[in-house]
Symmetry: C2
Subunit: 412 residues, 2 copies
């Protein structure tokens, strides 16, 4: 292959673009870009400008997804996408870097005067974080042809429906179906994203291959004990709901640790109604977030976990309610595409660490359309959804170089 | 001793008095009588009426404490007291029964035409629950001569100071010092109170002897870990503050259980700032309430507990702050008076169970004045500070009969 990409230059360009895009916010002192807002408009315009500079044909669909098309020798297309919306007080890298990496990769081939056996579409989605409406991934669902029109009636905090927001953005809800790719047209979807976790940093690797996007179960656990005076009820006569809750927290941790990476489980929310320092807790409610790259491992974890919680309730004579409020299946990444990403990472000097993505991504929606793959990029301290989010220019340069290599070698 | 008390009749009279006093409330649908309010006034007037009917000389001090004096053969007095204020949405028995028991006991001697070697003062205090001002036990402190005038400037939620409330109640703050008993005048203080715990019921005994009013330590424990994404941070790289908190909750429980009754420890309040189901808790604050009849046992518990918490923080790599916000010493009950109460309980057919009071009482303040003793009466389910609070007429009858027996036999 001719003209090897200049990793340092690519990293610097990416960093400049990240900072320019990161300056577009609804608020002066923190980053916030929600779906179909004036900030979304400004960010989309900037992305479109970059795409045109890289000789991509730019269009927008009814949900505002910016699509930069680069023609190839066939009608087949490789889709490279990510999102340009953010959480409230978010970081600059989560989402935008995937779009920028796609644009810089295409620009590399444009500048080299290369033609590829397939076309490339770079996609900038606007609704991955779900920061505005009580739904998420609508823009990638529209591209995948799985958008459900019932979602048009969902309203944001101000009561504006998705339908009205689309119109206010200058688009036509009736044109939503046209956003969908035709079968056969989209050959594969690739997403480059910061890891949002600490594993690559811990393993001292800049890049990783995602094996799957984790499935997720949410269990709401409520214990009903007996409230009582902290001074007058002897230990042996207590039915302390919070002590039961404490056992569940440590059980979730121990069971997840015992899976040695197959499953992660977290209790991040615990509520004691009528809590007081001098009152034995009569009632406790907590939420357990369980994720795994394997549906079977997750299901087995949930089953065993429920059995163990029932045993805790029985031993402590506590009333118990367990409600499963979420059950999302794992999205596997395509093996052949994973191999291609791994080889590309090796070609830029990295050791392709395999990771399951614990966070959700647009790839989850795009997997309904075509095979998907994801490349993760190291981020400092694993910190994300936070202004302190940071990925170094050199890691970004390596990621773009690996993406270029992947595009050069992938068979679609 | 002549004319044995009619236990059944005493119980019925006590029950009627409890219900009459219990109907005096600031609100129509729940019981609430706070210090120096119109409800306090009405309750004090009713108590004074009952005292006069039992041939007690009634007076009130500057804090509204109703004092019914029954003259004896010497200037020495046995004080029998409790409180007539309540918590918000409280029960009818907590406090008032002790006052009623005193009045019924004196009435027994009045009706029998008996004279005793000592006088009796029945005291109805108005500030045991601390429901109005950010202070408590002021009325018993005034009687004990330990009232600190700085408390006069404390204000209730409406901004009314204790000083102004005293004036509004028709009393004179300058006369507060006169409320104090002279040394030698008060020979002993006895308080009859519902247990507010489940031990007597569990042991199937109507009455118990209080060995001490428990001392109390409050520890505020704060862990600082690292917030993180519940899906992306592997179990082994987490510094989960809530998991640390869960260990503290179970440690408090286990250590207290291991003392086999010497110490009770409770975590009733736990806060996760910025809690979210999908975020590893970066920060947790909880309060540990530790009580014991023994200062040494409580201190040893606190010391060991702190050491163990530090070990948890070290093992989990969590930042730790422990703040001791309360350190109240145990109030011991006088052994000779305890023996008298125990003998009196036996005389009415009970087995005098020894208990440490986990809750605070006016006896804590009165112990600065003279030797104190307390008798506990069984209450259903150990429930107190609740409209469901209940003590049966027959248990109340036994308590009054035992108090009469105690008065007949005590050497002061």
């Amino acid at each position: 292959m001719s003209n090897a990409p200049d990793v340092k230059l690519l990293g610097e360009r990416a960093d400049t673009m990240i900072r320019t895009l990161g300056s577009i916010s609804a608020e002066p002192n923190r980053l916030f870009r929600a779906f179909l807002t004036p900030e979304h408009r400004k960010a989309a315009d900037l992305v479109a400008k970059w795409m045109r500079a890289a000789k991509l044909d730019v269009s927008e669909d009814a949900l505002g997804t910016v699509r930069g098309h680069w023609a190839g020798e066939s009608k087949k297309r490789l889709l490279i996408g990510s999102h340009i919306d953010t959480v409230i007080d978010g970081g600059m890298f989560d989402g935008p870097f995937g779009v920028i990496a796609g644009i810089l990769a295409v620009d590399h081939f444009t500048q080299a005067g290369r033609k590829l056996p397939f076309g490339i579409d770079v996609l900038a989605f606007g609704d991955e974080e779900g920061s505005r409406f009580p739904t998420t991934l609508t823009s990638s669902m529209a591209c995948a042809g799985t958008f459900d029109n019932a979602r048009l009636d969902m309203a944001d905090k101000e009561g504006v429906t998705l339908r009205d927001a689309i119109v206010a953005y200058g688009k036509d809800p009736a044109a939503l179906a046209e956003a969908a790719y035709k079968r056969g047209e989209a050959a594969a979807y690739v997403e480059v994203h910061i890891e949002q976790g600490p594993v690559l940093e811990y393993k001292k690797q800049p890049l990783g291959v995602v094996t799957s996007i984790a499935g997720q179960s949410y269990l709401n656990v409520e214990f009903l004990g007996e409230a009582g005076h902290a001074g007058t009820v002897p230990m042996m006569l207590r039915r302390d709901a919070l002590a039961g809750g404490a056992e569940v927290i440590l059980l979730a941790e121990k069971m997840a640790r015992d899976t040695k990476g197959d499953v992660v489980a977290t209790v991040g929310q615990l509520r004691i109604p009528s809590a007081a320092s001098n009152v034995i807790a009569g009632n406790v409610a907590l939420v357990v977030d369980i994720r795994s790259g394997s549906n079977a491992a997750r299901q087995q974890f949930v089953d065993t976990f429920k059995t163990e919680i029932r045993a805790i309730a029985k031993r402590r004579e506590l009333g118990l309610t367990i409600t499963q409020t979420r059950d999302v299946a794992t999205t596997p990444c395509d093996q052949s595409l994973q191999d291609g990403i791994a080889a590309a990472i090796r070609s830029v000097g990295g050791e392709p660490l395999e990771l399951s993505s614990g966070a959700g991504h647009d790839g989850t929606a795009m997997a309904k359309l075509c095979p998907i793959a994801m490349m993760f990029v190291r981020c400092r301290g694993g910190i994300s959804h936070n202004p302190a989010e940071y990925t170094s220019p050199s890691d970004m340069g390596l990621a773009v170089a690996a993406l270029i290599r992947f595009i050069e070698t992938v068979k679609l």
